[in-house]
Symmetry: C2
Subunit: 370 residues, 2 copies
């Protein structure tokens, strides 16, 4: 039979994720599969937990990659913590805040929201006002809004949430590995990420971490977690302890990939990785502005790894993306929701975040636009 894999283009992935994958991670994916209860595989699992804790800056014992993509991590955090009629506040300024709302509503929570214009950050004073006098079980926010390129002030929000007594739930799908994530420092109780952004591993896993306080709440639920696959009370028994209990068969080779991706980050040095993201971002913004293009987000709230660029009047944004893909083998992303047709999203995530890639894109964009 014809095999489509023989003709896959090597595309420079500069969209909103997946990002480019280093050769070492590709190699890791094809290491010999071990059994999910094999003692040597369990060693690798232990290392993954340790490396994740270090990158997430947390001492949380319950830190592990969930067997699904980033959205499964979001689902995990909500489904383990929410019980019917729990009051939950979601701070929304993009697609992923909206997705949180959708998930929490489906789980029967009493969901309240605070919405901000897409492309602008969550305003801490409005959060403080909303929380004064109210009592929520969970307050949730996205650190790096992949749909807009906005960095939300998660540290400041964390202080307000902590004072209110609520659990603090943060999405770091796009930020982890690209900018500092301070799980313990921000007082976060539940946090999830994804492998296909700044970790530069293909999509398929979602690292999560829960504070001891969150673990206690999950343990003492009135009813069982209404999601067997993602029930942390059971998953943890496979990921921890002297005697591991089989829950579901872990995605072995994807975990090899994540392990290798984490090793690469620590081998390079976490701070250096962050600097590389920032330098690539600076180069990109300077280049785009020199071409007369305009960024969506104000400089102080811009993410280095996700750059939203306004589509100039009269330009067919989809045609530009097609040309970049077909003629230059570069992928960039489209806008979502109210920003469809209005922005491009240029990702500088993980392995992709390099000056050479930025220059290649700028050259290609010039060729296509001018």
């Amino acid at each position: 039979m014809k095999n489509l894999l023989n003709n896959i283009d090597e595309v420079l992935l500069m969209g909103p994720g997946p990002s480019c994958v280093p050769m070492e991670v590709y190699r890791a994916l094809s290491c010999s599969t071990l059994g999910h209860m094999d003692y040597y595989f369990i060693k690798i699992m232990d290392e993954i937990k340790n490396l994740l804790k270090e990158l997430m800056r947390t001492k949380n014992r319950l830190t592990l990659p969930v067997s699904g993509t980033g959205s499964a991590g979001m689902e995990t955090c909500f489904v383990n913590l929410i019980e019917r009629d729990d009051p939950v506040l979601i701070l929304i300024n993009g697609v992923f805040g909206k997705r949180m709302e959708d998930i929490a509503v489906r789980l029967g929570a009493k969901v309240d929201t605070l919405e901000f214009e897409w492309g602008t950050p969550v305003m801490t004073d409005q959060v403080a006002e909303k929380l004064s006098g109210s009592s929520y079980k969970i307050v949730a926010v996205v650190h790096a809004e992949t749909s807009t390129g906005v960095r939300n002030p998660v540290d400041a929000i964390g202080q307000i949430v902590r004072e209110s007594g609520a659990l603090y739930l943060v999405d770091t799908v796009t930020s982890l590995g690209g900018i500092a994530v301070e799980t313990d420092g921000w007082g976060v109780d539940a946090l999830y990420s994804g492998t296909q952004k700044c970790l530069s591993c293909p999509p398929g896993l979602s690292p999560v971490t829960f504070s001891d306080r969150a673990v206690q709440i999950i343990r003492e639920r009135r009813v069982k977690v209404p999601n067997w696959y993602l029930d942390m009370n059971m998953v943890i028994q496979y990921w921890e302890g002297a005697k591991r209990v089989y829950h579901h068969t872990a995605p072995i080779n994807m975990l090899y990939g994540l392990y290798q991706a984490l090793l690469l980050i620590f081998d390079e040095g976490v701070e250096k990785v962050f600097e590389r993201h920032q330098a690539a971002h600076n180069r990109l913004v300077a280049g785009l502005e020199a071409m007369g293009l305009e960024m969506l987000v104000s400089p102080e709230y811009r993410l280095p790894m996700l750059n939203s660029v306004k589509v100039p009047d009269g330009v067919d944004e989809a045609a530009v993306r097609s040309k970049l893909r077909d003629e230059h083998l570069i992928e960039i992303g489209a806008g979502l929701g109210p920003l469809v047709g209005k922005i491009w999203r240029i990702g500088l995530m993980g392995h992709t975040a390099r000056i050479g890639n930025v220059d290649r894109l700028l050259g290609a964009l010039k060729a296509v636009l001018l």
Copy 2:
């Protein structure tokens, strides 16, 4: 940093899955990652759907791999079909039937069960009796019980379920790709599998299929599916249609692996693959019995790909498994639930199901036991 991946043993995987992975599938896993909205990746998705339909023997439009391991497929089938207080009957003769019960209860169904001794099959006359006069929305059963090695009479059960008007939900995690699965022929409405058994792709994906009748029921639910990640109403919009709608980022490289694994099965010929499983099984049973060992399951209900062998009196079954792993680089499985310590589970799944592997195991077992 020290890299544990450099010292992974090449283990002959003869446990209950994962099975050995062919070189072509390892290579597929490390093909260049494409974006999840890339037109060429969508071509590969379409081929995966076509190949799955052919292997599952179904015309169901809603046929695709869910982004999680086999248990996520189980969760998908139940969470999409069950609404609170729905009457559900689960036929149980092993771990995976019990797991179905756990999932259905968590989702708020009124769960009734019919249990059979582990190691024996579901009895169709008892099913018929149970269904006469009762009215269930769903009747669920496991085709190949991985915990015991029993093949349940899913065809005969299907006839009874169809007459009752209930939806028929079948687990084919361990059977698909090793013995015939006749989705449409058996009148199945929801079916799931896993990649790490007879498909010989690493764990991480769960192929599922839903009949048009099941799709209609999912579309007309009173309340939204209480699981955003696995909501088929949304997932299908990414997997089908002229214009694909982003839901979550698909596990790109795992999907390459599944595609390649399916191509290998069709290149070899589905019937030949089934014969290879049966031949390996026959050789194994003959060899084990020649050594004086005894099978758990009666010949007429034995699965070729999962062989439960009774541990002889006085033998430390865990020590045998350790020696096989450490001295012979072979993994076999332990018993589960009431069969802990009483059986070994020897898998002959997919790429593993070869005479040479059987002979290697038999030789090693002799060395360890005698």
